[in-house]
């Protein structure tokens, strides 16, 4: 058993920032991460970090753009916190030595990005995330924060009150990948989940293999609702064979999209008459898929992204990394030919429901980063808005967990504010299958003091590991790929009712299959088979909640497109989708989006680019 004031799960941008903040506020912090910090997927971010740094710009404009981009599903207090604090956080990174790209006068460069009214995206070449991740890890080394790397967090140790709002989180249970030891990490002040994205729910994704949404699923089973899960951003420019992302920076610098007929389709087919290539991601993704579906795709699969006209010098200066990516992963030379691109899963706008301080409905449990939903991105995230989210909300969660007073939060969590139940009948049963098997890891133990709660959670986790290792059964890989396939087939950019129902019943089947998974590698050392098997369970829970939300929301908002109703319905749907686990019987409900901010009230407008 390990004991700290604050335990941060995950060591990407959000986790590292949270740990630094908590330590600054005087707490004894530990980071527990299944990957060594520098291996986190924040390192893959290319494009940049939005921050209103210049006099001609203002955080209010940034907030307005963000809200508009979110299709009015962001919560104003969170959006404003993001935009207000991003500049100071970016400068802090700069003071920590982050090698930003520079202007001639030595100031940080900024470039235009989709959906922004001002070129406010700061960047470090085409490797912004890498530089940000490493800069923050350097600070963690400097400050001597304890890091338990290659420890897979299996579960949260949460008390077992029937109403999740009464529960308290006392720590986490983790599995040491190197040795196979299962151990408890007691967190006296709080646990901060910063486990990143969930791209592995789909099979064509820009996300890492490790992005399996563990934190979201863990919190979900412990009683925290998942918010707005149906909003998945599909990035319009990913390489067809691997899903590797070609940064929006290419379009920001002036890259052009062509279809098989050589048409600049965003203009010529009227998808985005004003902003063209710089229109919001969802617009561009749908435009591309429409082109492909209507037979104007190349090899019926992708379109072309051309940056040759920018000239070698500019490309080398600002987009050199893109050249390597296209070369190494697709065999295309961006200086000589257009690059093939197609939409791929990129970002989950939804996640663990939190308020603007990172607090969840369960006491002592926080979330920040991509796994959390505060919500700043609403129905659609603007490019360059996730990295500032990591540093702003990572910091806030860290401070709050360490006991710093941040004032009263305006966003209600759980069912503490206005809420309404969903009246949607799913054709398929959802939720836990076949009683509490080894896979059932509903958060909660009978006892209420920290030691006992943690003790029971550790026992349960050990049992689960033993069972998975001892019994014989199916390999998780087939289940995982079945999930990924059905999600990509039916819950992709274009969604319609029969497909979504189909996905839900496929997921049911996968869930049933999962009840007899087993791990065939008996080893206690670096058993990745075991880790992947546990991750697959998380993928299942997330996929299901995501599909439920997508089925119920009959409108077209942001990244969520529904065939049945291809327009935004502000009358009925200016509200967040929430799914609660309820001990195995998922419940769908809603709460209103908060559009009244400090700067203004954000009146829904037509989103046209």
């Amino acid at each position: 058993m390990y004991e700290h004031d604050v335990v941060v799960v995950g060591a990407g941008g959000a986790g590292l920032r949270a740990a630094i903040a908590a330590q600054e506020a005087g707490a004894d912090v530990a980071i527990v991460s299944k990957l060594h910090p520098v291996r986190s997927h924040t390192g893959a971010a290319e494009g940049g970090i939005n921050a209103a740094l210049r006099d001609a710009d203002s955080w209010e404009d940034h907030a307005y753009d963000t809200m508009k981009g979110s299709d009015y599903l962001g919560d104003a207090p969170a959006v404003e916190a993001l935009c207000k604090e991003s500049p100071e956080e970016v400068i802090r990174l700069e003071h920590w030595g982050m090698p930003f790209s520079r202007e001639d006068d030595g100031r940080v460069s900024q470039r235009p990005f989709g959906g922004l009214s001002f070129p406010r995206t700061t960047y470090a070449g085409a490797e912004t995330g890498h530089q940000m991740l490493h800069t923050m890890y350097e600070q963690v080394v400097k400050r001597g924060v304890t890091v338990y790397d290659e420890w897979y967090v299996m579960d949260l140790a949460v008390t077992n009150e029937p109403d999740s709002a009464d529960r308290t989180c006392h720590g986490v249970v983790a599995y040491d990948i190197q040795t196979g030891e299962v151990s408890g990490f007691r967190a006296d002040n709080g646990v901060i989940l910063a486990t990143g994205g969930m791209g592995q729910v789909f099979d064509h994704t820009t996300n890492a293999v490790a992005n399996t949404g563990d934190g979201v699923a863990m919190a979900y089973r412990a009683g925290v609702p998942m918010e707005d899960m149906e909003f998945i951003q599909f990035h319009p420019t990913t390489l067809p064979s691997t899903g590797v992302l070609i940064s929006e920076g290419v379009r920001g610098e002036g890259g052009i999209l062509y279809n098989a007929e050589g048409e600049r389709f965003l203009f010529e087919h009227g998808y985005a008459n004003n902003d063209g290539e710089l229109a919001s991601r969802d617009v561009v993704s749908r435009a591309e898929l429409t082109e492909v579906n209507e037979g104007r795709g190349i090899e019926d699969e992708y379109v072309h992204l051309d940056m040759r006209h920018l000239g070698e010098e500019r490309i080398l200066d600002r987009l050199e990394n893109i050249l390597h990516l296209a070369e190494d992963f697709e065999g295309a030379d961006g200086l000589e030919e257009p690059m093939p691109v197609k939409p791929g899963q990129h970002y989950a706008m939804g996640g663990i429901e939190t308020n603007e301080h990172g607090e969840t409905a369960v006491d002592g449990l926080y979330a920040a980063g991509e796994c959390a939903c505060a919500s700043v991105h609403g129905a659609n995230r603007l490019g360059g808005n996730a990295l500032p989210e990591l540093i702003v909300f990572g910091k806030r969660a860290g401070y709050h967990a360490a006991g710093r007073d941040l004032g009263k939060a305006e966003i209600p969590t759980g069912k503490s504010g206005n809420w309404e139940p969903a009246d949607y009948e799913f054709e398929t049963t959802v939720g836990e299958t076949g009683g509490p098997g080894p896979a059932a890891a509903d958060g909660g133990a009978v006892a209420s003091d920290a030691e006992a709660v943690l003790g029971t959670a550790v026992e349960r986790a050990r049992d689960r590991v033993e069972t998975l290792l001892e019994r014989r059964g199916r390999n998780h890989a087939e289940i995982r790929s079945a999930v990924q396939e059905t999600m990509t087939a039916h819950v992709n950019v274009f969604r319609e009712e029969p497909g979504l129902e189909q996905a839900l019943s496929d997921l049911r089947e996968a869930r049933e299959g999962y009840t007899d998974v087993a791990v065939s590698d008996p080893s206690r050392t670096f058993n990745t088979d075991l880790i992947h098997t546990m991750e697959t369970r998380n993928i299942l829970d997330i996929a299901e909640a995501l599909t439920m939300g997508a089925l119920a929301r009959r409108e077209f908002r942001g990244a969520h497109w529904r065939k049945e109703r291809q327009e935004r319905d502000d009358e009925n749907w200016l509200k967040h989708t929430l799914v609660s686990w309820n001990g195995g019987e998922p419940e769908l409900w809603y709460k209103p989006a908060i559009l009244e901010g400090e700067a203004r009230t954000y009146e829904p407008k037509v989103r046209s680019y």
């Binding site: 291996r39 893959a44 740094l53 400068i91 030595g97 090698p99 800069t135 030379d333 200086l335």
Partner: protein, 298 residues
């Protein structure tokens, strides 16, 4: 290996661009050369791919190192052979994933991003240190032999203990230190473009450990900081924002007994680095910096 000299025109173009950005042209010449080489390779690869596609149902033979101290039948290191169907654009990592998901779920290797940024999957492929996700199958000879990184303790299969590497990386005070922070909280600490350009390559390290594994000096002298850590020190020592005093301290760190002087300019680190960091060049520059700063007061 290509020994051709880059074309004249390319070179002058490159250096013109440099003059404007105020960048030393050496790196650009090298990159131009690299690109040209890559283009050649791509041509070869295309031809190769066409050939292999023609020879329908081509499968790749992999020989993968297996070892697990925990499992009786794997305690004695051995090689397992797998046959993996070839697909266009396939990387070494793809073949390993295929083999694991299809034949043996206990096959163990680190990987995450699949795009050469997380640095998890450096391994020894056909006798060279490679990043598996960035190594195209068509560029390799068959059978493909995959082993864990040399000169590191093997934990299991292709997984090696990285602790020592991390220790070395952290031994050079790998964090920005400056006492010249600007006044205002929103005030940037300016840096010239030239200076950013100078440290740019050194900031690209993804901690994969390939360089350390390829260096024979590091293999012999366990305490040698190694190319990656020295490069990390370079990244800060050359950053103008750190100031003179800190630079002196940095030089003292890299000058220690197991620091830069151990490097014997083997160049293998530079050859294997998946991020094309000119490691030897950086190490040599630090040696000269160290000598210079010492001679000043000698």
């Amino acid at each position: 290996m290509s020994t051709q000299i880059p074309k004249e025109t390319e070179e002058t173009e490159g250096s013109k661009a440099d003059a404007e950005a105020g960048v030393p042209s050496k790196g650009d010449v090298r990159r131009a050369e690299k690109r040209r080489r890559a283009a050649e390779k791509r041509e070869e690869r295309r031809a190769e791919e066409a050939e292999r596609a023609a020879a329908a149902e081509h499968t790749i033979e992999l020989r993968v190192f297996r070892y697990d101290p925990d499992v009786e039948e794997k305690q004695e290191p051995r090689f397992d052979t797998y046959h993996v169907p070839f697909e266009k654009g396939m990387t070494v990592l793809d073949t390993l994933i295929y083999a694991r998901d299809t034949y043996d779920s206990s096959l163990t290797f680190r990987h995450s991003c699949r795009q050469a940024v997380c640095g998890s999957d450096a391994m020894f492929v056909n006798g060279g240190q490679k990043l598996a996700c960035k190594t195209q199958i068509v560029d390799l000879e068959e059978p493909i032999r995959i082993e864990p990184l040399p000169h590191a303790d093997v934990r299991k299969d292709l997984v090696v203990d990285m602790e020592h590497f991390y220790d070395q990386m952290e031994a050079v005070e790998p964090y920005f230190q400056t006492d010249e922070l600007p006044e205002g909280e929103l005030e940037e600490q300016r840096q010239s473009r030239e200076n950013r350009e100078k440290v740019k390559m050194s900031t690209r390290c993804i901690w994969c450990g390939a360089c350390m594994s390829s260096c024979n000096v590091a293999a012999g002298d366990n305490e040698y900081l190694g190319p990656a850590a020295i490069n990390k020190a370079y990244r800060f020592a050359m950053d103008e924002r750190e100031g003179e005093d800190v630079k002196q301290k940095r030089l003292e760190i890299i000058e220690q007994e197991h620091g830069v002087w151990r490097c014997q300019t083997q160049f293998s680190c530079t050859e294997v680095c998946p991020k094309d960091i000119p490691l030897t060049e950086h190490i040599q520059e630090l040696k000269r910096e160290a000598v210079k700063s010492n001679l000043k007061f000698w």
